[in-house]
């Protein structure tokens, strides 16, 4: 068992990698972020970003196959909140680039927004190979003073 984070907002969650698990992770994320001092708007946004990463794992990494787990780790400190989602499914060589919403609509696409949304809601989004065959989404959100002034996030609008 690892030690608790400085603000008490540390948590490790191991859960079946299914869409059914998304809401439990959403609720846990809202509570961890709130406990770590984020306002409820910001906590909701962080939870949506974590949900996008988890959906990516369920849908793309494990292709909706049953029987896989995902590990979600939260760590809060004075600078902000970091969330890692570890899995042993497929992962992309590089993250999808920015999106062209009008083009997606013209093509009647129903997806392609996930990574883009994560990037817009978080200060850092990365996917790393942390061990052979083990991929990890890393999401970070810094505290903003005063009270989330820059609500648009750090990613300049394309």
């Amino acid at each position: 068992m690892s030690g608790a984070g400085p603000s008490g907002a540390s948590l490790r969650l191991e859960i079946p990698a299914t869409c059914e698990s998304l809401e439990l992770v959403h609720e846990a994320t809202v509570r961890v972020a709130t406990t770590a001092g984020f306002a409820s708007d910001a906590a909701g946004e962080i939870a949506v970003a974590v949900g996008e990463a988890m959906t990516n794992v369920v849908v793309h990494a494990y292709r909706r196959e049953e029987g896989h787990d995902i590990v979600v780790r939260y760590a809060a400190d004075a600078s902000g909140l970091r969330i890692e989602l570890e899995h042993s499914g497929e992962y992309p060589d590089r993250l999808p680039a920015g999106i062209d919403l009008a083009k997606l609509v013209a093509e009647r696409r129903r997806g392609g927004l996930g990574v883009h949304l994560m990037r817009r809601l978080m200060d850092r989004v990365a996917h790393e190979e942390v061990a052979p065959g083990v991929g990890c989404w890393i999401l970070e959100r810094r505290r903003r003073e005063p009270k989330d002034a820059d609500r648009k996030g750090p990613d300049p609008s394309p």
Binding site: C19, L22, E23, R110, L113
Partner: protein, 125 residues
């Protein structure tokens, strides 16, 4: 406590869709079914009321993207009302505020279909 229920009601020539709960990759199929059925039936004037929505993941926006061209091709539109702060912010960072008009209230969104048939400016940018 169901995760998502999707209510629909008619307001003149407009259909109001009110998803109650949250929309993510687990629940989106119920939202998608309702939108697809409306598009297939030619119910092309659609207001989505966010009044009872706690949050929407990208899957929910995907469901709207998937039918928007079809709805507009048949002379209709999808307009949005009553978004809470979190949903409004996600709507904005995805660029949906440039794609669909939003209104503070359902009544204004419904009304907008009778004042201008299409392409008016957003009531709540």
């Amino acid at each position: 406590m169901p995760d998502l229920e999707v209510a629909t009601r008619r307001r003149g020539a407009v259909v109001v869709v009110e998803p109650r709960g949250f929309i993510n990759a687990h629940t989106v199929h119920r939202f998608e079914e309702v939108l697809n059925r409306l598009a297939a039936d030619g119910d092309a004037r659609i207001v989505i009321s966010g009044r009872s929505l706690s949050y929407v993941a990208s899957a929910g926006f995907g469901a709207i993207m998937g039918i928007l061209e079809e709805v507009r091709a048949s002379g209709g539109d999808i307009r949005i009302s009553d978004l809470n702060a979190t949903v409004a912010h996600i709507f904005e960072v995805l660029g949906f505020d440039r794609l669909c008009q939003t209104f503070p209230t359902e009544a204004e969104a419904v009304e907008s279909f009778s004042t201008a048939e299409a392409g008016g400016k957003s009531g709540d940018p």
